[in-house]
């Protein structure tokens, strides 16, 4: 239908934007200016969310924390695993703990782009075209089995993810903030599906492999979830405004020159690695650093450590890189390659780096400040 036109319009608009297509910073929520949340409130809010998720999903606290990290870093999450390990449950739980609008799209091969974005319908009584918002108009959008939809529909969603807005018939409609897409993908049942190509996967900030729960968690799950759906007990513990404030707080986390250098060197190492055909993109570097900031904030710090970058690097980078054929046949996986790179990459922390750091301090004070204070 009119997707071509829409794309054209979007291109004009994005020309003036950041090349990486990062969402606009959260400065306003429904017309109100967002104040960054203070550290204590941030901590208690994040603990409430995590606790709530953990009551539903047993033994998956790491995945829950990573999901929250992605939410606070304004990224999108790709959940990929075999059926029945709780991908959708995690997405739904996360959505329910926050008092915000949630929509769920079950992707099927016959789903159309307009079903996602919305469509203009001619109103007989007013004799005007009226825009009927699609499923994407929500704070949290759960895209179930995204690989079942056609490439056209997938890309409609992916464009919304990037722009945080929908353009139909020349009109742009802003999406609500915060906005997060949680897509699930099933790697087993591949027949008649359209798995996300590498370039599309790059739009997701992180990919989580759920993995099977351990024995004790599984037994406990059988015990507690026998009769009732666990989701029914979940209640919202924070509001959308709280989440926006938390996001603003994450944006204020300080990133030192050393951490930026470390992040960049991680990216460069993936590009130089002989095991990889495709290394990490500059966009992924940005997302890696944002995820690191969210991790630091969840850890109760107002500055990023190299450890934060290391903690999220596997989840953020693994789905973006492509293995060399030889490495793949040698049994390497993207995760093992990234682990190897992180194990080899030196972290400058000795005194030899200290004079350079003190020398670089003046611009460390100005340069990130200018790029950072812009945010609020």
């Amino acid at each position: 239908m009119d997707s071509h036109r829409r794309t054209a319009v979007n291109e004009i608009e994005t020309a003036s934007r950041n090349f990486a297509g990062i969402a606009e910073p959260v400065t306003q929520l429904n017309g109100h200016k967002v104040q960054a949340m203070d550290a204590a409130a941030f901590h208690s809010a994040s603990q409430r969310i995590l606790k709530e998720i953990n009551t539903v999903i047993d033994g998956k606290s790491e995945a829950a924390k990573l999901a929250l990290t992605v939410l606070l870093a304004q990224g999108h999450l790709l959940l990929e695993d075999v059926p029945g390990v709780g991908k959708t449950l995690l997405a739904k739980t996360l959505a329910r703990t926050i008092d915000c609008t949630v929509s769920r799209i079950q992707f099927t091969p016959d789903l159309l782009p307009s079903d996602v974005t919305g469509v203009s319908i001619y109103n007989q009584s007013s004799r005007l075209f009226e825009f009927r918002p699609g499923a994407v108009f929500a704070n949290i959008v759960i895209g179930d089995e995204i690989n079942r939809a056609s490439a056209k529909t997938q890309s409609a969603l992916l464009e919304c993810m990037e722009e945080h807005q929908v353009t139909v018939d020349g009109h742009s409609y802003k999406l609500d903030e915060p906005f997060m897409v949680v897509a699930t993908q099933n790697p087993i049942e591949m027949e008649g599906t359209y798995p996300l190509p590498e370039a599309q996967r790059d739009r997701f900030m992180a990919r989580i492999f759920m993995g099977y729960p351990d024995k004790a968690s599984e037994i406990e799950m059988l015990e507690t979830h026998q009769a009732t759906s666990p989701l029914s007990k979940v209640s919202a513990v924070v509001t959308a405004a709280d989440v926006a404030a938390m996001i603003a707080a994450v944006q204020q986390v300080y990133v030192s020159q050393a951490v930026k250098e470390y992040t960049v060197s991680v990216g460069r190492a993936t590009r130089d690695s002989p095991l990889l055909r495709l290394g990490a993109s500059p966009r992924s570097m940005l997302q890696l650093l944002r995820a690191g900031k969210a991790t630091a904030a969840l850890d109760g710090r107002d500055f990023v450590l190299p450890d934060d970058v290391v903690n999220v690097a596997e989840s953020v980078l693994a789905h973006r890189i492509i293995l060399d054929r030889k490495a793949a046949s040698a049994g390497e996986t993207p995760h093992s390659v990234i682990r190897g790179i992180l194990n080899r990459l030196p972290v400058s922390q000795d005194l030899a780096g200290a004079p350079a750091r003190t020398a670089a301090k003046p611009d460390a004070r100005t340069a990130p400040g200018s790029g950072f204070r812009r945010n609020h």
């Binding site: 030192s256 050393a258 951490v259 095991l275 107002d302 972290v347 922390q349 005194l351 750091r357 003190t358």
Partner: protein, 826 residues
């Protein structure tokens, strides 16, 4: 020098289509044989550099180069066409024979390269010549065709051996044996051993062979991706060059490593120093040996001190004087040995001497002058009618026991003075004045001898001049270019410096005598030795006292010819030997001219009357036995200083560590970023010292977690809780200051860093073994690693520069190649 070959081959090796499989010889041959052949050739030619000094000059090097590279290239070519390994080796042999024939036997070979029957005859001649050279001459020997042919053949065989080791047998590391075999020759023969250049070139070539074999045929079990990356090459080149440079520097840095008592150990030479070489040159080395070797004992009934003479030198032309070489006129030692001149003296003294040469090895036999008959020799010997030197035909002097009957006229000063008749019946060899005599020799001779006087007066004038106080006896000068020169130019130096040893005195007197018209020659042998105290019974002659001489008694003296009296020895060297009665000055005329270490030579004198300075047989200037009062304390002082130095050396890592720690903890102001960094460095170094070094890829947090999780710091909450808290707070401080916002607030009041570090150190010390504690105290790994980094910094810098240069060269080469290819294609 070291890196040059690496640099040369690696860029050419990289762009080549390399076989990646495990069996490069089978799948694709490529450049491998050629590069390997180049490496072999470079290493062997490099090792052969050290033969300069064994062979004189460089004229021999071109044939060597040709031989080595022809053999290398032949084998590489055969390998390039995938010949069988045995065929390759056979081809190597064939090419070696061909190139040797072409170089040395061109006239007799068929088509120049195939040896014929005549070639074999020539070969025998060449080999005889070479063996004579080896036996009779001293390093550096003149590069005659025989010795050069043998050198080329041996080096060619070495190439084939190394090639066989490196390629078909696949043991490149063992190729060092072949190179070692080449190096061992100069190591034993040359006074200054192998030399820096030969050693460096050999080692560089060896590393090159290893590098090539590793580069082209990596181990089957190295992972596919890790093999052959540029970093490996760099690391290997760096390690190799560091090791090589260290090997070269260490002997320089450690005093006495290559002199003093060391050379006997470091220069593997089990055969002593006087092994059958040019006596003129080994003499200096013999004198300089700290311990006497080549001990000869003899027993004699002579009443005068006995000089054992082995060879004479009479040809004073050329750069290097050698022993007489009149093999054609030599006669077998069978019956009577004739002097060939008439003796008109009133009285002949006949002496009987029994000699046991022991381990002394030389083609010449030490005998007292003038031998009349020799009994008891093994093997065939010959004597020279002109000089009466005894030389082995097919044997040498090792382990010979023989009895010599010799006779000398009883000479007196008046007898000599009267011998003024013109010299007759003497070979022109002994009277010919050498060409290009330096002016200083001629003027000195003229001024010393004055205008007139008899031949004896002139000889005495020369001896008086040389024995005057102006001249000092010194074994060190004038030594030239590592070996003792003995040509006319050295003689000029000697007269100018007025310092030298017997060779110089003897040759000065001999040359000056010739200038004054007296026939002269230099005798080389042994000065009178020492009584051993034993007696020897010689069959039919009675019981004689036994004497011994060894390398330290090696000596040279001039012999002058007086008509009617024959060859008369003189003693111009001060403090050596015994001045014969007839040659002493008139003021002390008649007094026995004995000198310090020869008091016991006259049988009958009590040896205990004048104690023999046996420990210092050479009265070197300044080293006299009189200066012992002050030197008594000297060893003690030196020992004390040495002990103090050793103590300082041993404790220096500890002192450095203490200094570093004090410097770091001096800054007590906690908020200062420098203080926090210092404290963190101290924490890391403490961990390193106690066996938990931080990895380069470890973040501060992971390292501190690992430190706290290790058994170095017990359980948290237990005894070491203070240490745990210290680590946590130090880590937090460091993280905040390194990664936190610049104006970050300091977290609460903390204990000073020094206290926290002390708590950590106490916990570490309590939890490690005693050995670890000792190591942390005396050899802290953090300090050693720091020193290692400092020491290798220049090498790392050079490595970076070299890599950059190589890359730039490779880039410009590929650009140039593209530039050339494009027009030729277009």
């Amino acid at each position: 020098m070291t890196l040059a070959p690496e640099k040369r081959t690696s860029p050419s090796a990289q762009p080549l289509p390399l076989p990646s499989g495990k069996a490069p010889g089978k799948a694709r041959v490529g450049a491998y044989p050629w590069v390997m052949a180049g490496a072999l050739g470079i290493s062997v030619c490099g090792a052969a550099l050290s033969l300069n000094g064994v062979l004189r000059g460089w004229a021999w090097y071109l044939p060597v180069l040709t031989t080595v590279f022809v053999v290398c290239l032949t084998m590489a070519a055969l390998r390039a066409v995938r010949a069988q390994p045995l065929l390759v080796t056979a081809g190597g042999f064939a090419s070696l024979i061909a190139i040797l024939t072409l170089t040395f036997f061109r006239g007799t070979g068929i088509a120049g390269i195939i040896p014929s029957g005549d070639t074999m005859k020539d070969l025998g001649r060449f080999i005889r010549r070479a063996s004579e050279t080896v036996l009779a001459e001293s390093a550096p020997v003149a590069p005659n065709a025989g010795i050069v042919m043998v050198t080329c053949a041996v080096l060619g065989l070495t190439v084939i051996l190394i090639d066989a080791l490196a390629l078909p047998l696949g043991m490149p590391a063992t190729t060092g044996l072949g190179l070692f075999a080449i190096l061992i020759v100069p190591a034993m023969v040359k006074p200054q051993s192998v030399g820096v250049w030969g050693f460096s070139a050999a080692v560089a070539g060896y590393l090159l062979i290893l590098a090539c074999s590793q580069w082209f045929a990596p181990d089957a079990h190295t992972p596919a991706d890790t093999a052959r990356n540029p970093g490996q090459l760099k690391r290997a080149a760096l390690t190799g060059s560091v090791a090589l440079v260290a090997t070269l520097i260490i002997p320089m840095a450690i005093p006495g490593f290559d002199r003093g008592t060391f050379p006997q150990g470091s220069r593997v030479n089990p055969w002593g120093t006087s092994t059958g070489l040019n006596p003129m040159i080994t003499l200096g080395n013999s004198l300089r040996t700290p311990a006497g070797t080549g001990r000869i004992t003899y027993a004699t009934n002579a009443v005068t001190p006995l000089y054992l003479r082995s060879v004479t030198v009479d040809n004073f032309d050329g750069d290097s004087w050698g022993p007489d070489d009149r093999d054609a006129s030599r006669q077998p030692v069978a019956g009577q040995i004739e002097t060939g001149y008439e003796i008109l003296a009133d009285e002949q003294l006949t002496q009987v001497t029994a000699v046991d040469t022991g381990a002394f090895t030389s083609p010449y036999l030490p005998v007292p002058y003038a031998p009349e008959s020799i009994r008891g020799l093994d093997g065939r010997w010959s004597w020279d009618p002109a000089t009466l030197s005894i030389k082995g035909v097919d044997t040498n002097s090792r382990s010979q026991e023989y009895t010599v009957v010799s006779s000398v006229p009883r000479l007196t000063a008046s007898l000599l003075d009267r011998s003024s008749a013109a010299v007759r019946g003497i070979s022109e060899d002994f009277t010919r004045v050498p060409g290009n005599v330096p002016d200083i020799v001629r003027t000195t001779a003229d001024s010393v001898t004055g205008s007139g006087g008899s031949a004896y007066a002139k000889a005495m004038a020369i001896q008086r001049y040389l024995r005057s106080a102006d001249f000092t006896y010194s074994l060190q000068s004038p030594v030239q270019g590592g070996y003792d020169g003995n040509g006319l130019s050295v003689l000029a130096d000697f007269l100018a410096q007025k310092s030298g040893y017997c060779i110089h005195y003897a040759s000065a007197m001999a040359v000056m005598a010739r200038l004054e018209g007296i026939p002269s020659r230099i005798a080389v042998g042994y000065a009178p030795g020492r009584l051993t105290g034993a007696t020897v019974t010689v069959a039919g002659q009675g019981v004689f006292s036994e004497y011994e001489v060894d390398a330290r008694d090696a000596h040279a003296w001039p012999e002058l010819y007086f008509q009617g009296l024959g060859w008369v020895p003189f003693e111009p060297t001060p403090s050596r030997g015994v001045v014969p009665e007839y040659a002493t000055e008139s003021s002390t005329f008649g007094a026995p001219g004995t000198l310090d270490n020869n008091d016991d030579l006259i049988p009958g004198t009590d040896p205990s009357a004048t104690p023999l300075p046996s420990a210092t047989p050479l009265p070197l200037p300044g080293g006299g036995p009189g200066s012992d009062a002050g030197s008594q304390m000297l060893p003690w002082l030196l020992g004390l200083a040495g002990a103090a130095g050793l103590l300082l050396l041993v404790s220096s890592p500890r002192l450095v560590r203490i200094g570093v720690r004090a410097g770091r903890l001096r800054i007590t102001d906690p908020p200062s970023p420098a203080a926090v960094h210092m404290a963190w460095s101290e924490l890391r170094d403490l961990g390193t010292d106690y066996g938990l070094p931080p990895g380069p890829s470890e973040t501060p947090r992971t390292y501190s977690a690992r430190l706290r999780g290790s058994r170095l710091l017990g359980e948290p909450g237990g005894m070491d809780d203070a240490a745990h808290q210290a680590v946590i707070s130090l880590t937090a401080d460091f993280e905040r200051h390194t990664y936190g916002p610049p104006a970050g607030e300091s977290p609460g009041r903390q204990k000073p860093a020094a206290a926290r570090i002390a708590a950590l150190q106490a916990a570490l010390r309590a939890n490690v073994t005693r050995g670890r504690r000792l190591r942390a105290d005396w050899l802290p790994p953090s300090v050693l690693a720091l020193w290692g980094r400092i020491l290798t910094a220049p090498f790392r810098f050079i490595g970076r520069q070299v890599r950059r240069t190589v890359q730039a060269a490779a880039r410009s080469w590929s650009r140039a190649r593209d530039g050339l290819r494009r027009p030729s294609e277009g």
